[in-house]
Amino acid sequence: MHTDEAINAYITGQLLDGEKYQYDPIDRHGPALVELTLPIVHLEGAKKFSELTESQLRLVPVLVGSATVLLFAAAVEIFGFIPSLVAALLFAFAPLPVYYNRYFIHETLFVAATLGLILSGTRALLKNSLTSAALAGFFAALMLACKETATLHFFALGLAVAIGWRLRANGKIPSLKIFIAAAITFLAAGILLFTWFGQNWSALVDLLRAIPHLAARAGGEGHQKPFWYYLVLLAGGWSGSLLLGLGLAGTYFATRSFAKLTLAIYALLIYAVYCVIPYKTPWLALNFWLPLALLIGFAVERLWFASGKLSVRTAILIGCGVLGLLIAHDTRQRVFVFPADGEKNPYAYAHTTEDLLGLPVRLEELAQQNKITNPRIAVIAKDAWPLPWYLRKFSNVGYWQPSQATGEADFLITTTDVSDQLAERLKNFRPDFFGVRPNVLLILWSSPNTNSSHE
């Protein structure tokens, strides 16, 4: 499990263990993912943190990702059948969404909510529908309750709608009622979600505290990447460049209707915003993969209707088939062959190495050898994630910062850069290295009487 997944798993686990939800504006994002996860893992039979499994947790993004594919059916009315079908197929089979639709992070739910906002918002504007406006307000609140960066999308969508409306609405003015309906549901749903349905009102104040932190985070915090990072990421593999080319063509063809033009402007704006922000991770690319999938659909639609000749349409179908094979290859490589290998798979970003799975196994083995039924484990590290997830089955684990004095322990787990104040304590212990992430190692220190083996 990736560190970010482990943090979300830990939050879910604490709630399962009876703790109350506390919104943490520093690095933990909004409560929506956990609010959705808790009932699902309950249904799956999980009763406490130590019983949770990766599959139980990852079922949540799988379900949300599947719902996103189905949600494209609602896009037919707005964007047309072919673009919606193409986008749904891309979301169902392309490597980026398939990979991250199994990651227990907020992105999948955030993208689903964004699609919901785009569809209901467009429908509300075009049909003056109060129901659609209310839905748009709900989806916007859901986005914010997933990730505070929703505000960037609100800005991009707002600007895109303003430009699209000016260019394609022929002077019509949207009704004020739909804005009021959207605002009311946004506020109501937002308050309900953030306060954990009225139980934690301080979350609303904490939300404001998230702003300076997010501003600092945008600066990079170790995840700085060049402007063109997402372009290289999306163009990678056998199918990436072709898909990007089609997306670009789709942008050109999207100028004829308000909905399509607005989507194209939104795609360009949100792409530009994410490129300008130094902080970049591969899963953030899902945010522009959403409009890109529809833009690719616009290009395919345009090609399909360019000529009614059987030969031309046969050629288009063959081309789509070949593209499908290229996509299948990329999905196989990134999702199934090298799912956690950061050297061969750009999506496996700072992923937890397979090696760490051996740490709890080794601890159990050593405890058994030493006849320790409930081993006391001291973790001394500045950043111990994702250990709380991997050590969840041990009930006696303590976490200390390197400067703190630890309690008595049967086993110690340290990073490689803790101060040498532990030296006296560790001088007779055997070190076993474990990889956590690329370039991050931990050392398990065990009594010299135990046998060190990784067989």
């Binding site: 090696d355 490689t416 474990f434 991050v440």
Partner: protein
């Protein structure tokens, strides 16, 4: 009388040893360029190898050369996942892709045929150095027997059975004291690493002199 004879014999042997012993010179080799800022190891614990911050001082008899250069390499995995076995002794120690051979997961070995018996004084191995890693169960043996079924001398062992400690890979490589052991074949074992279960070799240098 017997005591006097023993004393004279010992003194003669000591003098002979002093006169005929090889002069020791510092072991030198060309280092590759570093590819990452290393994982620091600040814990001063006797059973943990410190991270190298400079090329360590290590002496070998004058005239010792890298006997492994361009010599034939065989391995337990005859069809490496990435690269070819000749990369182990081709002189290229850089850490970029194309410089290493990747062997199958689990316990694997590579073996260098020095073509003649030699007195081996030091061995330097670079498994992988574009990421901070520890290779597991590293064992180095020397033998006259290409099958390593007899006359095997183990010069390094950080597996469960050995007394050596695990170490962090770096562009300095790892110097192993071979103490002048005589043999023609050098075999290096490993058992995956802290990133994956695969085994890698960028370069192995064997410093020694052909046996008289």
């Amino acid at each position: 009388m017997k005591k006097l004879f023993t004393l004279i014999a010992s003194a003669t042997l000591l003098t002979a040893n002093f006169v005929f012993a090889d002069d020791l010179v510092p072991l030198k080799t060309d280092l590759p360029k570093p590819l990452f800022v290393g994982t620091p190891v600040q814990i001063d614990v006797p059973n943990l190898e410190p991270k190298l911050t400079k090329w360590p001082e290590f002496s070998v008899p004058a005239g010792s050369v890298n006997l492994a250069k361009a010599k034939k390499v065989t391995a337990s995995d005859s069809d490496p996942v990435v690269g070819t076995l000749d990369l182990v002794t081709d002189g290229d120690k850089e850490g970029d892709e194309g410089s290493w051979v990747e062997l199958a997961p689990g316990k694997q070995w590579v073996q260098i045929d020095l073509e003649k018996d030699a007195n081996i004084y030091a061995l330097v191995v670079w498994h992988f150095h574009n990421q901070s890693r520890v290779y597991r169960d590293v064992v180095v043996q020397i033998s006259d027997d290409p099958t390593f079924s007899k006359d095997v001398t183990t010069i390094y062992d950080n597996s469960a059975a050995g007394k050596d400690r695990p170490y962090l890979e770096s562009f300095y490589g790892k110097i192993i004291d071979a103490k002048g052991v005589k043999g023609r074949y050098v075999r290096l074992y490993s058992n995956g690493n802290t990133t994956n279960k695969l085994n890698h070799y960028i370069e192995v240098e064997v410093f020694g002199k052909p046996a008289a």
